[in-house]
Symmetry: C2
Subunit: 110 residues, 2 copies
């Protein structure tokens, strides 16, 4: 089934826009691969790698994607691991843009 | 004054080696620029940048250095910020190698 998040434009939150209601966030989560919602406002996922350089390469791929869509995750990098946290600080919670970026991160070839 | 950490070889911890005593760690800390020791076993420092790409470039410079010395920090990357945490997991605390890597990170041109 086509993923509706893959080709959606990663539009930023509008001023005054509310975070996604939890039901809508849960529904979008079904289109993602092994991401979790934490504290109601963070999308998180962790990856394991066999060395540091592979993890750093993945961070660079995410960074390239983030720059291209103008939406930037928080990324934790360590030897053999990368953790990504997405939220929309301007609205204090999750926005559709977070799910769109997560879906595109899932398309990065490891 | 020359920094004794700049040209020291970044040797890994030996099996069974103890973490640095706190007095020795505090003494080495004086050779670093604005790093702090936290919980007695983490060397930490944060940097601010004016955009995401500059922060990512710095992460890559740290990564290149880490690969060259075979000692790898934990790195948190976000829009305009990088935080580095150094510790030596094998010995459960700080090793001279952590201070040597920190001193070399301080030499990276921003």
């Amino acid at each position: 089934m086509a993923n509706p998040l893959h080709h959606a434009e990663c539009l930023p939150a509008k001023p005054g826009e509310a975070p996604l209601p939890i039901a809508e966030a849960d529904s979008l989560l079904e289109h993602l691969d092994q991401w979790t919602i934490q504290a109601g406002k963070y999308l998180r996922k962790a990856w394991a790698f066999s060395d540091f350089q592979s993890a750093l390469n993945f961070v660079n791929a995410i960074g390239h994607l983030a720059e291209s869509v103008g939406h930037h995750p928080d990324i934790a990098l360590g030897w053999g691991r990368v953790e990504v946290e997405l939220t929309t600080h301007d609205i204090g919670g999750l926005h559709r843009a977070d799910f769109i970026l997560a879906a595109r991160i899932d398309l990065i070839e490891l």
